[in-house]
């Protein structure tokens, strides 16, 4: 497996897109990789489209430029598919992790898709329809780039200031996202 991965996350302000990117980078770091996370730079507003990026590598990451050729794209809100070019630059065979009950009918052919109802899963565990940690669980299961154990540790560390209840709810959410994806049939379409 290649040891350099670039991931782009799409969401709306308030869905924890930038936090998810930070969590994923922390997870990879926990797993012993070098990693880097950064938001699409701009003024944040609740509900507005948000992007964040993650690099994971075996060697030191020196570059601070943006990424254009992601290996995976995480989409927290299918509504964005109508207005944003979410799959731009995605490598052939790249993975799309989508917060939806099913794959959209007319989307790309050369990609792998994982669709899961992450908002509902998030709401069940966290009490709010937050899809971000559920989708990270799915990404971990669908790629093997980071471990579930490291993801749980990163959540424990990163969210510790929000209290044990929030940490545990997010760990349950991330586990369900992971298990949901692990139990799916082969996803290549």
């Amino acid at each position: 497996m290649s040891s350099f991965h670039e991931i782009r996350l799409h969401g709306r302000g308030g869905q924890g897109t930038v936090s998810a990117a930070a969590l994923l980078a922390l997870t990879a770091f926990e797993d012993g990789f070098e990693s880097q996370a950064f938001p699409k730079f701009g003024s944040e507003r609740r509900g507005a489209p948000v992007e964040a990026y993650v690099r994971i590598s075996r060697s030191v990451i020196r570059a601070h430029n943006q990424l254009y050729r992601p290996d995976a794209v995480v989409i927290q809100d299918t509504g964005l598919l109508r207005s944003e070019p979410l799959l731009r630059g995605l490598k052939p065979g790249g993975l799309i992790v989508l917060n939806a009950t099913e794959k959209p009918a007319d989307m790309g052919h050369s990609f792998r898709w994982i669709s899961l109802p992450a908002s509902q899963i998030g709401e069940r565990h966290i009490g709010r329809p937050l899809p971000n940690t559920v989708l990270l669980g799915a990404l971990a299961a669908g790629t093997g780039w980071v471990s579930l154990r490291a993801l749980e540790r990163a959540i424990t560390d990163h969210l510790s200031s929000k209290g044990e209840t929030v940490v545990n709810a997010n760990i349950e959410a991330v586990r369900e996202g992971y298990l949901f994806t692990s139990n799916e049939e082969e996803l290549v379409l």
Partner: protein, 397 residues
Amino acid sequence: MKQLLEGSQAVAEAVRLCRPQVVAAYPITPQTHIIERLAQHVANGELAAEFINAESEFGAASIVLGAVASGARSFTATASQGLLLMTEVLYNIAGLRLPVVMICANRAVGAPINIFSDHQDSMSVRDAGWIQLYVDSNQMAVDMLIQAYRIAEVCELPVMVCMDGFLLTHTFEPVVLPSQAEVDGYLPAFQFARTLDPTQPMTIGGASEADNYQEYRIAQHHAMENSLAVIEALDAEFEQQFGRTSGGLLQGYCLDGAQIVLLGMGSLMGAVCDAVDNLRTQGEAVGALSLRCFRPFPAQALIQYLSGAQRIIVLEKAISIGGGGIVAAELRAALYQAGITTPLESVIGGLGGRDLTPEVIETIFKKRVEAETEMTNHFAPNHIITDEIDSGGKAHG
């Protein structure tokens, strides 16, 4: 311990470890996270400092001027229009020879209004009398900030650590934070011989007329020139204690056998080093030189590094409107004075957040190397996504 931290948080921890007694600032993107974190440290009792939320950047700079003159180690941070609003005070801090340390979270200057990163803000105050140190990474921001207090207090000169807004301040990456004991071992408690003291009253900042004003300015210039050796020595001392160097005045990459050298400042150097690696695998004799210290301008050190080069390409993220590349102009003057006539290409790019990718840098390199004559004041091409990318090909602007 190595941790994954946001750049703003990492430098805020470094500031805390330097034990400033006064922090004064006015919020401006992309500096805000640094100051918010320090405000939290003060509120939580983790930093024994007076935190002053100023009414403007002019106020923030004036507060740290007074605080340092009164014997308190101080910190401020700003960017862009905020730095420009400080300008009058920056000259006064430098003229009074006060060891103030600040971070400039480098951002473009309006109009048009733009919150993204380039070096126009700090380059615009290059003549104010502040030492200016540009960092490539968040680790270097942490290390340079700690060194900045030593440099400032040894030289009695203010130091501006220039850290690219967003590209560094908002990026999470691995950083080694030293312990309090380690920083205390490198940075002694604040000492300033000219501290204002009510029991021994004196005036600072009095008037000076034509009979001695010029001598003050010359003395300030000499102090800046003398700081070159201090910056190098304190980086060497830092390396001895912490096992990491910030390069002092400048740092080379793949310069062995390099006929062509790409020179730049700040976070773009990561992409430059990646481009150098790619070009080396294509057989190009290319290297890179990261200029850390722009003020004072390290002419001698630059000449040492560049005397063997056959071509120099300066890539910079600021422009003197009507003049052109600023670093290029100063480097060209330094080389001319040393009798070196190596062709020097001036390329301006990355303005207002325009991305400088390794692909763009390789394109610049190839275009400039193919050119027959030395050209000045080129502009970097844009990074354009093409369908080629999807098939794994190279992108060209």
